[in-house]
C-alpha cells in the first residue's frame, strides 16, 4: 500500500496526464465522426475476434455436451431397436451412457473409473460396453462413481463364443499385449477362421449375448491337449477409452433365481 502511494506520488504528473488525456480522448472520439468511425471499426474488429474466440470455445464445450447427449441417445436407441441381434439384446438389457474419468492400461490388473454411480443406476456386476463392444464390468460403486475392470485384467475370465453359433470358451488376457486376449478351451473340432467375431454368450449375466469382444487373430492357435487356445484381437483400444455404456440385464433377477433353484436341486 505504501509502495503504491509512493508510486503515485512519484509519477503524479504522468498519471494526471494520462487521466486527463483519457477524458479528452474519450470526449474527442465520441464527438468526432472520423475517429468515432475508426474507433467503431476497430472496436468491431476486436469485438468480433473476441466473440469468435468465445464462440469457438463454447462450441467446443457444446460438442462435448452434445457428444454425451448423443451417447445417451445412442444407449437409449440400443435399448429399443436395431438389427435382429440388437433386438435380442434390447429385450434383456438397458444401456446408460457414462464417461471414463480415470483408467490404467499398463498394469496386469487394470481398472477404470466411471462418472456414474449408484445414484445414476450403476451397480456392481453390470457390464460396460463401448460402441456395442464389451470392454469390462463394474465391481464397485459409490454414490457418484463406479470402479470397473476391463478385459485387460489377468485375473478375470469372460465367457465368449466364436460367431453366433460357434464354440464357447473362456476369454482371458495374459497380461502381455494389451491388444490381444486368448480364448481357451475351444474344441479342436471347432470350425473358425481368422477375422471371425468373438462375442459374449450372456452366460455370466454381465453382458447380454452377442456383444463383440474382438475378432480371431491371424496367429495360429496353440494346442492345449484336446483344446485350442485361440488368440483374439480386442475390438476396443483400451488406452483411448472415454465414452462408454453401462449395460443392465433387466431380467437378471429372474435368471439368478432359476440358477439358484438349479443349484439347490442338484444333489
Amino acid at each position: 500500500m505504501r509502495n503504491l502511494w509512493n508510486f503515485i506520488v512519484q509519477y503524479q504528473v504522468i498519471l494526471v496526464f494520462i487521466v486527463l488525456q483519457g477524458f479528452a480522448m474519450s470526449w474527442f472520439v465520441s464527438s468526432h465522426g472520423y475517429p468515432r468511425g475508426a474507433w467503431v471499426r476497430l472496436a468491431l474488429d476486436w469485438e468480433s475476434a473476441w466473440q469468435g474466440q468465445i464462440s469457438a470455445w463454447r462450441h467446443r464445450a457444446e460438442l462435448s455436451d452434445q457428444n454425451i447427449q448423443l451417447l445417451e441417445e445412442n444407449a437409449r436407441l440400443r435399448s429399443r431397436a436395431g438389427s435382429p441381434s440388437a433386438v435380442q439384446i434390447a429385450k434383456r438389457s438397458q444401456f446408460t451412457a457414462a464417461e471414463v474419468i480415470r483408467s490404467t492400461w499398463t498394469q496386469n490388473q487394470n481398472y477404470f473409473i466411471l462418472d456414474k454411480g449408484k445414484e445414476q443406476g450403476a451397480a456392481a456386476g453390470q457390464g460396460v460396453t463401448s460402441n456395442g463392444a464389451a470392454i469390462g464390468k463394474i465391481i464397485e460403486t459409490t454414490d457418484g462413481y463406479s470402479l470397473g475392470i476391463p478385459l485387460i485384467h489377468n485375473q478375470i475370465d469372460w465367457s465368449a463364443r466364436i460367431g453366433e453359433t460357434g464354440a464357447i470358451g473362456r476369454l482371458k488376457w495374459d497380461g502381455e499385449d494389451r491388444t490381444l486376449g486368448t480364448l481357451f478351451d475351444i474344441p479342436r473340432s471347432a470350425a473358425f477362421s481368422p477375422g471371425d467375431s468373438v462375442i459374449t454368450t450372456g452366460f455370466q449375466g454381465v453382458f447380454p449375448p452377442n456383444l463383440l469382444f474382438g475378432i480371431v487373430a491371424d496367429d495360429e492357435p496353440s494346442f492345449d491337449g484336446e483344446f485350442l487356445n485361440v488368440p483374439v484381437i480386442w475390438t476396443v483400444d483400451f488406452q483411448s477409452l472415454r465414452y462408454v455404456q453401462l449395460t443392465e440385464t433387466t431380467d437378471a433377477s429372474q435368471i439368478n433365481s432359476l440358477e439358484n433353484t438349479a443349484n439347490q436341486a442338484t444333489p
Binding site: 494526471v16 496526464f17 479528452a24 464527438s31
Partner: protein, 172 residues
C-alpha cells in the same frame, strides 16, 4: 493588481476572448488559426507546480471545448502542452535560475526568451491539435503545416497583445 486575482482574471479573459471572438476567426483557408486561451496558460507563474499547471490547462481546454464544440480536442492539446511546458521553462532558465519576481512576459524575461518559449509551447499545442484533427496519415502533413503557421501567428498576436496591455499598465 493582486496576483491571486490577476491569474484567474487572465485565464477567464483569454478563455472568453477565444470562445466569443477568436474561435470564429480563421485566416488563409485554415492556415492561420488563433488559440488565444493558450496565452492565459502561458502567463501562469513560472513556479507553478507541474500538476497544477496540467489541471488548470485541462480545465481551460475543457471550457473552450465546451463552448466552442471542440469535443475534447482543446483539452487534450492544452494538457499535452502543460506536460512539456515545465521542461521548456527549465531549458530556458537563466544560469542562476528564475527569480521570485520573474514573470513569463516580454518585459520581465525579454523578447527572445518569450518568443522561444511561446513558439515552442504553441508548436506542441498545435501539432497535437492538428494531428488529432487530421485523424489520418494523408492529412497529417497538411495539419503540421497549419500548426506551424498558426503557431507563428499566435506568437505574433500574443506579443502584440502583451506589449499593448503592458504599455497601458505602465502609463498608469
Amino acid at each position: 493588481m493582486n496576483l491571486a486575482l490577476l491569474i484567474p482574471l487572465q485565464l477567464l479573459l483569454t478563455c472568453a476572448l477565444q470562445v466569443l471572438f477568436f474561435q470564429n476567426m480563421t485566416f488563409w483557408d485554415g492556415w492561420g488559426i488563433v488559440i488565444f486561451h493558450v496565452l492565459g496558460i502561458l502567463l501562469l507563474p513560472l513556479n507553478t507546480r507541474p500538476i497544477v499547471l496540467m489541471i488548470i490547462s485541462g480545465i481551460i481546454g475543457a471550457t473552450v471545448d465546451f463552448f466552442a464544440f471542440g469535443g475534447g480536442i482543446f483539452t487534450s492539446s492544452a494538457v499535452a502542452m502543460a506536460l512539456v511546458l515545465p521542461f521548456i521553462n527549465r531549458l530556458l532558465a537563466p544560469r542562476e535560475g528564475y527569480e521570485v519576481t520573474d514573470k513569463p512576459i516580454i518585459q520581465s524575461m525579454g523578447i527572445q526568451w518569450f518568443s522561444i518559449r511561446t513558439i515552442a509551447a504553441l508548436l506542441i499545442h498545435n501539432l497535437w491539435m492538428f494531428s488529432m484533427e487530421a485523424g489520418r496519415w494523408e492529412l497529417v502533413l497538411v495539419g503540421w503545416g497549419k500548426a506551424i503557421t498558426s503557431s507563428l501567428i499566435c506568437w505574433f498576436l500574443f506579443a502584440i497583445t502583451l506589449q499593448l496591455v503592458q504599455s497601458k499598465g505602465k502609463r498608469r
